[in-house]
């Protein structure tokens, strides 16, 4: 393939191609709408014949996440993808990974819930993704792509962060970004790490005990509470460092904004159209798009909160991120929510109307 070739593909397909190109060692997944194209694309591309990447259709999401846990424990770059009900099943494995400090990538192409819900897009797994999701005090690094290009780009970003901090990372997408086609430039090829590189870069991994070291033991268990508290304190220190260093966000026309919309992923795309409509009417609206949902751009939103007359949190859910916005602004400005649920997607016009009703026209 020529360098920098501009392609047209679905977000799900972009994830698969990016995985092959960014040195991913293994993909383990289970079919579920609307993300099945990830596994299908990998199966079609046969990366095991080119890069040596392993692709396996597992028996369940439970098995998939535990394959990632095993692969990551052995120092390998491994990923899975699923959609909301499948990711709910994976929470146990993700908690184990967080507890044992195992890197790995989970892609959630969200659909509406609760339960089996719908196959249509949603952002209602925000809490699950940003609060940990499983048991215990932990966090997962969460990236929210808003375009097919970002679906491709964030695979490597997520792996790098995941290995840097020895923490699971998630790409929190949804049926819109997963199913839509846009132009995309795939990332350049990066070879898979060699055995020596894995052993050198992951000295903690269970790769076979060389004589010059003690056995590497990967576990999240410690029955000694004092030890377990130390482990937790260590995790919290790590999370503090991630909060300090890894916040990513994007702003659109925030400089002169009197009102602010905060939206992530596909909702940010729709909100941007709403912004265009508002600006055409002379309403000074800005948009802040968190790219990392955890760590959340708390400081930046706190700053904006002091400058604007109100904030609308635009989410394709019942109002989840709004909690983080309110925690960031601490009452400095009114914060309201607009969203749709159950697979319904708000239109730009609905967002404009909500902005006027809930923020601009409030005295």
């Amino acid at each position: 393939m020529a360098k920098e070739e501009i392609l047209l593909m679905k977000g799900n397909e972009a994830i698969a191609h990016a995985a092959i190109r960014c040195g991913c060692d293994g993909y383990f997944g289970y079919p579920i709408t609307p993300q099945s194209e990830v596994l299908e694309t990998l199966a079609l591309e046969k990366p095991w014949e080119t890069t040596g990447m392993v692709v396996l259709q597992a028996e369940s999401e439970v098995a998939s996440i535990n394959m990632i846990y095993g692969a990551g424990s052995a120092g390998k770059r491994a990923m899975t993808s699923s959609s909301s009900p499948g990711v709910a099943l994976m929470q146990e494995g993700i908690a184990y990974m967080a507890g044992a400090e195992i890197p790995g990538l989970i892609v959630n192409v969200q659909r509406g819930g609760p339960g089996l819900g719908t196959i249509q897009p949603s952002q209602s797994d925000y809490f699950q993704a940003t609060r940990g999701g499983g048991n215990g005090d932990y966090n997962v690094i969460v990236l929210a792509p808003a375009s097919v290009q970002e679906m491709a780009d964030f695979v490597d970003v997520a792996f790098e962060l995941s290995f840097k901090y020895r923490n699971p990372a998630m790409i929190l997408s949804d049926g819109i970004i997963g199913q839509m086609m846009e132009k995309v430039i795939l990332p350049p090829f990066k070879p898979r790490r060699t055995e020596d590189e894995v052993v050198r870069e992951c000295p903690w991994a269970a790769t076979g005990r060389r004589k010059d070291r003690k056995p590497n033991i990967i576990t999240s268990l410690d029955l000694d509470s004092a030890n377990m508290e130390r482990t937790n304190l260590h995790l919290q220190e790590k999370y503090a460092e991630i909060r300090e260093k890894e916040v990513r966000y994007e702003t659109v026309m925030c400089e002169d904004a009197e009102y602010l919309m905060v939206a992530f992923g596909s909702a940010a795309r729709i909100a941007q159209k709403a912004l265009e409509i508002c600006r055409a009417e002379g309403i000074k609206v800005g948009l802040l798009r968190p790219i990392t949902l955890w760590p959340f751009p708390t400081k930046q939103i706190a700053e904006m909160g002091k400058r604007v007359k109100g904030i609308l949190s635009v989410e394709i859910n019942a109002g989840q991120m709004i909690d983080d916005i309110r925690l960031a602004t601490l009452g400095s400005t009114p914060v309201e929510h607009y969203g749709r649920m159950g697979g319904m997607v708000p239109s730009p016009e609905e967002i404009v109307a909500a902005l006027k009703e809930k923020i601009i026209n409030q005295k």
């Binding site: 098995a63 535990n66 990632i68 095993g70 052995a74 390998k76 491994a78 076979g208 033991i217």
Partner: protein, 256 residues
């Protein structure tokens, strides 16, 4: 000849394997786990795979196996060891990858992972300790608990209508096209231990020779859970367990 004359390095005929460290094991006195741990360690040493072994421990009594054998270990979520092993073996094909699981872990919560990994013919070995009870949580009924056997959750004895029937998961494994070697052994006598060791060796060698999956069931005692002395437990096992779980190879296509 004095004892001191005999106890000389050149006269050494048996000691615990080097891979088994000196950490005191948390297993109850007389527990079969210790014997199987020793066999696993001996086989790894005899195959010179100390530096190339990635072992997966379960949830259950063997959760702390990683404290006793000095190889690299990963402690899996309950029942998921075969999923971890599948991924690891595919990503590290030259490593010896095995799981060590009990009946609660392998035959109950992890049934899907067990059957699927075995039937995919993953080049892994599964060591299955079947003592017909949940040991670590205090002796509750497991899928392999015998009919009439009393446990904390079937205190009046296992009954078909209340609890269902004992699961012979090793027989299921033998029926799978993906398995090469499926055997049922025990470690209650010197002769049985020797046979069990051979079985573990064959399973490990199969996994290194790309010969599909192997399952070695060790019909074991849980004397504490069964509320018997270790000696009595062995006797009870011979009289009761072996009827439900007869010893011997159920399938061996590793030489075909």
């Amino acid at each position: 000849m004095t004892k001191e004359e005999i106890i000389q390095p050149e006269n050494l005929v048996y000691k615990k394997p080097t891979l088994m460290n000196d950490n005191p094991m948390h297993y109850c006195p007389g527990c079969s786990h210790g014997v199987v741990h020793k066999l696993v360690a001996e086989v790894i040493e005899e195959m010179n795979m100390e530096e190339k072994t990635i072992a997966i421990s379960p949830v259950g009594c063997a959760v702390f196996a990683y404290n006793y054998l000095d190889v690299d270990w990963i402690e899996a979520a309950h029942g998921r060891a075969p999923a971890l092993a599948s991924a690891i073996k595919r990503l590290w094909p030259d490593r010896l990858v095995f799981t060590y699981q009990g009946d609660g872990d392998l035959a109950c919560i992890g049934t899907a992972e067990t059957i699927q990994a075995l039937n995919r013919g993953e080049h892994i070995a599964i060591i299955f300790i079947n003592n017909a009870i949940y040991g670590m949580t205090g002796g509750q009924m497991s899928p392999t608990t015998l009919m009439g056997m009393k446990t904390a959750t079937c205190p009046y004895g296992r009954q078909a209508d209340l609890h269902g029937l004992p699961l012979r998961i090793t027989d299921i494994a033998a029926s799978l096209d993906g398995t090469q070697y499926v055997t049922r052994q025990s470690v209650h006598t010197v002769a049985a231990i020797r046979r069990a060791k051979k079985a573990i060796r064959k399973a490990f060698e199969n996994s290194m020779n790309g010969k599909g999956s192997s399952l070695v069931e060790i019909v074991s005692t849980c004397n504490a859970g069964w509320k018997m002395s270790p000696e009595k437990a062995n006797q009870w096992m011979e009289e009761n367990m072996f009827k439900q779980y007869p010893l011997g190879d159920l399938k061996d296509t590793s030489n075909e």
